[in-house]
Symmetry: C2
Subunit: 203 residues, 2 copies
């Protein structure tokens, strides 16, 4: 079996990355998985260990970091959040497509551990549209929105570190663009060695 | 405007590369062009200069080769056939997608002149299927078919020099695969610089 695809997705807050990837996973059915993060925060009601997060202790998390078992991690308040390497490796070895939705900061280490990973950056049509969307949610204060916009500008400067740029203007177009990227990556020569062997096997 | 995409397509004889690319061009309407070859053979009835081929003299063809104006060329009998660089450059500068359907041999020089060119190799499901298709055409002698199969095997060994492999089993799937590759290539970071500038222009 050919190794699966690891797709890293980042975007400024409010660009709809979770919605885009949820739609793509719906289309790909059992062939695509979202990487489950590890956290040291308490499990909330309705959450399931191994589905929403892997819930572990701070000591275990620190041990994982020391052992090089984390692909990336970050700290909010006093809680750690991060991506364990082992489950991603297992899914890839089964030929699955794995999505990793992470902060721009977290993306740097991924290519060191998984050199074949492909990174997609989702952008809004314009910063004005992004600001309008954030205000439309009506969940954030004016100050919080201004802060988000400043962070968005900084994150957009780092889009050049990604392999692909997908604009999320019309959701369906963005979903189709991500599907095209995945299909094209599956057709790359390094992923098609088994197919080539199959073609010429009786030569 | 962003530079267009140059897509090199090769396949063993009988794999349906012309049909696949004709269907893709139909879907892309005015955005895609097939590179027109130059030849020194006589124009036939119904052919138009600049459409079927650019018809030039042997002296002009040799002059073009000397001046480094040919992307690739070959000689059948006493006639030269080849791809002039200038029209491809012009279409790419207009942001168009240009298809170049050429022999495996001809593909080598393309990346030297156009480093961003992407190469697609079209394969049959198996060599048995290819042979059945060639026999189904009923245009070739048994000897000619055997010769084509030997060449196909040699060409398939060189698929590793290509960026993408597309299987032409069901025509529609092959067409969609080529469309996915083109879309993904359009979304690559080096083709999206203008979009990125547009997003942050009022920041």
């Amino acid at each position: 079996m050919n190794e699966g695809l690891l797709i890293v997705v980042s975007a400024p807050s409010g660009c709809g990355k979770d919605t885009v990837i949820a739609k793509v996973m719906e289309k790909m059915k059992g062939d695509a998985f979202l990487s489950v993060s590890m956290t040291t925060r308490k499990m909330r009601e309705g959450e399931t260990d191994g589905v929403n997060y892997y819930f572990i202790t701070t000591e275990e998390f620190k041990e994982n970091i020391r052992n090089g078992e984390m692909l990336e991690y970050t700290c909010y308040g006093e809680n750690f959040y991060g991506t364990p390497i082992a489950p991603v490796k297992k899914l890839l070895s089964e030929g699955k497509t794995v999505f990793l939705i992470i902060e721009v900061e977290g993306g740097e280490n991924v290519k060191k551990v998984f050199p074949d990973a492909k990174k997609i950056f989702i952008v809004p049509p314009t910063l004005e549209v992004l600001e309008k969307r954030l205000r439309g949610r009506a969940t954030d204060s004016d100050e919080a929105i201004k802060a988000r916009m400043r962070i968005a500008e900084i994150e957009l400067q780092r889009a050049a570190e990604y392999d692909y740029i997908v604009e999320n203007d019309v959701l369906e177009d963005a979903v189709n663009d991500v599907m095209s990227i995945i299909r094209a990556e599956q057709l790359r020569i390094n992923k098609m060695q088994n197919k080539l062997r199959e073609v010429i096997k009786n030569a």
